[in-house]
């Protein structure tokens, strides 16, 4: 005989302000099979849990229904209490009378009745619950880090230093990400390359890290602890084992007028190139779309000058398969280009540039060797305008969010500008100065007080060119919204930070969710900021939303910590809520007819063929078998099985019908 306990939670006033909890408890006490029923202010609190534990022991309960919030948060809590009371943890069910009832209805009899119905359904279900044992799966203690920006680098080094293997996959020919393009960094103004390059080298030298550059993720299968990943290593047309990085090829390549991506088009590079001098690895790649040989079959000068004979024109993409236990997504972000702004000339004015281009102009290794010179004619701009929030906080342009980093880097730009052009004047059009962070506001004050940046509060309506000047038309909203017109020599747009190219495809390959702007979503905005909602896949850095370096690095170390925790055990425990195919004693063996309709519908490839043999070893039948390691409990197979041979543990057909019956026959 079932002896069920019912525990009605008030959730402070969240439930009790709308639902009459004592009444629900009273009614539930009279349900058949209910041996105990009570209500309490906070069931998840310590005393609340003790109440559950004690009630199980005292009333010799066989199952419990906690009727409170959604199981998302507290099911583990009450399963633990259930186990502490001496029951199998899966003899616990939650009836959600908060999200499904109190939060969505007004106070009244009907609402109470709905709460009662929900409880009745779960009572009928829990009566039919089976004791289940958690599943144990082995863990592959190798981590995959996708993206080699500062976030990826930090995550890889931390994991490797914890003693685990790391595989890093970077799309570009070198690691480093956007930070390698920056000049100096706020709020300390230390040189970006100087602090980043040593870390890049560490990645290359760490024996625990295997680095694949010029590579992308082809496919990902499996689950936490046991992912199988295919990596496409794009052909560099160079044998990496032979190349010694001498640079003869890049110097001698005659085809030198290709837009330099690293310099954001403000310079050229040869068809065979290393993206920047400090690149890791220091191995060139041939850009097949530009190379003269690939285009018309003649040239091969690089091949001739390469002493170690490392050039391979016939090299093909390579697919590499690896097994990993956890994945860190660190693919970073991108920024809008100047052509995104109709009112600023659709990108047609050469001297309107974006923030990254300014970083390159200010960088000692950049196209102007660190002198601020405008792209059109190389003049030093004496009046420069910075436009903050260009495209950010702009629903009309489809980007309603704040890009977060621009206020700070714009202040930095104004400071750097003044350091380099002493007689120059910087104007900054802004809406708010968002400088929350340690030493951040002080930094923007420094731009204003020491480096004479003129902050004008208003958006820029239009920019046009006249007589070699850019006429910037804005308003000063602190001055009766009067129009301000500045004849500038150069304009820098702090354009919105956006999701990186290919983010959506990657998210789909990995089954992680992303928001409407294609940034990857964390599992919980407050409590799980570095987890995705796919177990074993974590995220760090600007692939989640625009972030600065300290935040990206902190998140990356967070991810490394999470992965180290995961790798601390050699086995993982998984919820046993998976599909099972019916098994019976011979000669029936199973109700499964072996039609295998279920096999192709399983999104996780979890369904296998099991051969049933008689005593003499002759094949009697083939039955479906569900690999408990792979099954995610989605239930698709249950729906297609014609002979009703598959059940999801914890959600069996029997349990479901009992719930529906309880509702219909109340």
């Amino acid at each position: 005989m079932a002896r069920i306990g019912v525990f009605i939670c008030h959730c402070g006033e969240n439930i009790s302000a709308t639902v009459d909890c004592p009444k629900v408890s009273e009614v539930a006490a009279k349900f058949p099979g209910v041996a105990f029923s009570t209500d309490y202010k906070y069931m998840c609190s310590d005393p609340g849990q003790s109440l559950v534990v004690n009630a199980i022991k005292e009333h010799k309960l066989t199952g419990i229904v906690v009727s409170a919030c959604s199981p998302r948060m507290h099911e583990p809590t009450f399963r633990r209490a259930c186990a502490e009371g001496g029951l199998n943890p899966y003899q616990c069910e939650m009836a959600n009378i908060r999200e499904h009832c109190s939060w969505v209805h007004e106070k009244g009899d009907k609402t109470d009745q709905k709460a009662i119905d929900i409880v009745r359904m779960m009572v009928e279900k829990v009566k039919r619950n089976n004791a289940l044992l958690p599943i144990k799966v082995p863990v592959t203690k190798t981590a995959l880090v996708i993206g080699g920006g500062v976030a990826g680098i930090q995550a890889a080094l931390d994991i490797a230093n914890a003693g685990h293997k790391v595989i890093m996959v970077e799309r570009d020919p070198s690691i480093g990400g956007h930070m390698s393009q920056l000049s100096e960094t706020f709020p300390t103004l230390d040189c970006s390359q100087c602090i980043l390059t040593p870390r890049m080298v560490e990645v290359a030298q760490n024996p625990n890290i295997k680095l694949y550059t010029y590579a992308e993720i082809e496919s990902v299968e499996g689950f936490v602890g046991n992912f199988n990943v295919k990596i496409r290593k794009k052909a560099k047309s160079v044998d990496e084992t032979l190349c010694n990085g001498c640079g003869m090829c890049t110097t001698k390549c005659p085809n030198k007028k290709n837009p330099n991506e690293f310099e954001l088009g403000m310079g050229n590079r040869p068809a065979i190139y290393v993206p920047f001098p400090q690149a890791v690895p220091n191995i060139p790649v041939i850009d097949k779309t530009q190379c003269t040989y690939y285009k018309n079959g003649k040239c091969k000068i690089c091949e001739k000058v390469c002493q170690p004979k490392a050039i391979r024109f016939d090299q093909e993409d390579e697919i590499i398969e690896v097994a990993v236990g956890a994945i860190a997504l660190c693919t970073g972000f991108d920024i809008k280009k100047t052509d995104f702004f109709p009112e600023y000339g659709y990108g047609k004015y050469k001297d309107i540039i974006d923030g990254l281009q300014f970083e390159r102009l200010a960088s000692a290794s950049g196209p102007t060797s660190g002198e601020i010179r405008r792209p059109s004619d190389g003049q030093v701009p004496k009046k420069i305008v910075f436009v903050a929030c260009a495209g950010s906080r702009d629903p009309a342009k489809g980007i309603e969010y704040c890009s977060k980093i621009c206020c700070m880097y714009t202040a930095k730009h104004a400071i750097l500008y003044k350091h380099k052009v002493h007689d120059g004047q910087a104007y900054i059009f802004y809406m708010d100065i968002r400088a929350a962070g340690k030493n951040y506001d002080e930094f923007t004050r420094r731009a204003i007080e020491e480096d004479q940046a003129q902050y004008i509060r208003g958006r820029v309506s239009r920019i046009y060119e006249r007589d070699g000047k850019l006429i910037v038309v804005g308003a000063d909203t602190l001055m009766n919204a009067q129009t301000v017109e500045i004849e500038a020599d150069m304009v820098v747009l702090a354009t919105a930070g956006v999701a990186n190219k290919g983010a959506e495809e990657l998210a789909q390959k990995l089954h992680v969710s992303y928001d409407q702007h294609k940034f990857f979503s964390e599992a919980h905005p407050k409590l799980k900021p570095v987890e995705t909602n796919t177990a074993g896949i974590y995220l760090a850095g600007a692939c989640q939303s625009p972030k600065d370096i300290p935040e990206s690095v902190a998140a990356a170390s967070g991810v490394a910590g999470k992965i180290a925790c995961l790798f601390a055990n050699s086995e993982l425990t998984r919820e046993p809520l998976i599909a099972m195919v019916d098994r019976q004693a011979p000669p029936m063996y199973s109700s499964c007819t072996g039609c295998f309709l279920c096999q192709p519908v399983c999104p996780y490839n979890a369904i296998e063929r099991e051969e049933v043999k008689d005593r003499n070893g002759n094949l009697v039948r083939e039955l479906a078998f569900i690999n408990p390691g792979l099954c995610q409990g989605c239930g698709t197979c249950v729906a297609v099985c014609k002979s009703k041979s598959i059940d999801i543990e914890g959600y069996t057909n029997l349990q479901m019908y009992a719930e529906v019956d309880a509702l219909l026959n109340s």
Binding site: D339, P342, E343, G345, Y346, K348, R462, Y464, E465, R466, I471
Partner: protein, 302 residues
């Protein structure tokens, strides 16, 4: 080929030459423009400044009359009328009760099946393909194409060209052999209906437009709106006073420019009616050449 036509008051009065040039090129190309029978004034700025329902009803009556007359496409050369018509059509089609109410007021039913074309759309769809075979002279001048407000704003409703730095007129002019310059005042307002009631503003706004065009070496300003034309042309005295210098850059309707290229008699195009004399001469004979007029980005509006 027959198309519906709404001349509007300006084209019947102060902007006769616009009408004359539209008619002249239509005739040359073999298109008959059929006026809406008994059409009335669209109400222009005055109506929507003072009364919303009136501002909807006056255009709606015309649209209903056009539909009654069995017209399906309506060419509206006046940018102001075009804007009013398109806005009214949009509002009525998106607001059922309002549509009903306006039908009651005008005592007619407008179903909303009319396609409204501004003059550039008309040129783009019906004239441009016939140019090569009919053009006699190359319009070998530097021109500043001026669009004003009403052809391009609000872009979400009109869905014509791109919001900033539009290109459709530039493309037509380039096809005729002109050098359409890149300039800064393509879509800045000329002062519109304030010509009489707030002349100082018009002098300033139109003054800036003329000044920038002249400054960049344009030999003519090309327009497609009678209000823009009258402000830039008839108000030249006030404009020059504002700019503190005399200017003689003529203001030419795009249809007049096409007419000139087609070899139509300048009188027939009404060029003699301008306040600022049109002294454009030395047009070279047109030689057909493949002009590479690439459509710049963001031209397609969905």
């Amino acid at each position: 080929m027959k198309l519906g036509f709404y001349p509007g008051c300006s084209l019947e009065g102060a902007s006769r030459e616009y009408n004359e040039s539209v008619m002249a090129i239509a005739e040359k190309i073999g298109i008959e423009l059929v006026s809406i029978p008994d059409w009335n004034c669209c109400g222009a700025t005055a109506a929507h400044n003072l009364n919303k329902e009136l501002s909807l009803s006056l255009p709606a009556r015309n649209l209903a009359l056009a539909e009654e007359a069995g017209l399906t496409e309506l060419v509206v050369p006046c940018a102001a009328c075009y804007s009013r018509f398109t806005m009214v059509q949009h509002e009525l089609m998106h607001d059922e009760p309002l549509h009903k109410r306006v039908n009651e007021i005008i005592g007619k039913e407008y179903k909303g099946n009319l396609r409204i074309l501004n003059v550039i759309q008309f040129i783009d769809e019906y004239v441009i393909d016939k140019l090569d075979e009919n053009v006699k002279f190359e319009f070998n001048k530097k021109v500043a194409c001026y669009y004003g407000c009403l052809l391009v704003r609000p872009n979400k409703v009109l869905k014509f060209d791109r919001t900033e730095d539009p290109q459709t007129m530039d493309i037509v002019m380039k096809k005729l052999g002109a050098d359409a310059i890149d300039w800064a005042y393509k879509t800045e307002c000329c002062g519109a209906g304030f010509s009489v009631s707030f002349t100082e503003a018009v002098a300033r706004l139109s003054g800036n437009i003329v000044e920038d065009a002249v400054h960049r070496g344009a030999e003519a300003i090309i327009v497609a709106c009678p209000m823009c034309h009258s402000n830039l042309d008839m108000r030249r005295k006030e404009i020059d006073k504002f700019n503190g210098k005399k200017s003689d850059i003529p203001v030419i309707y795009i249809t007049q420019a096409i007419g000139v290229a087609l070899g139509i008699d300048h009188k027939k195009l009404g060029l003699q009616r301008h306040f600022v004399p049109v002294n454009l001469k030395d047009f070279k004979p047109f030689v057909k050449k493949e002009i590479d007029v690439e459509k710049p980005q963001n031209m397609e509006v969905e």
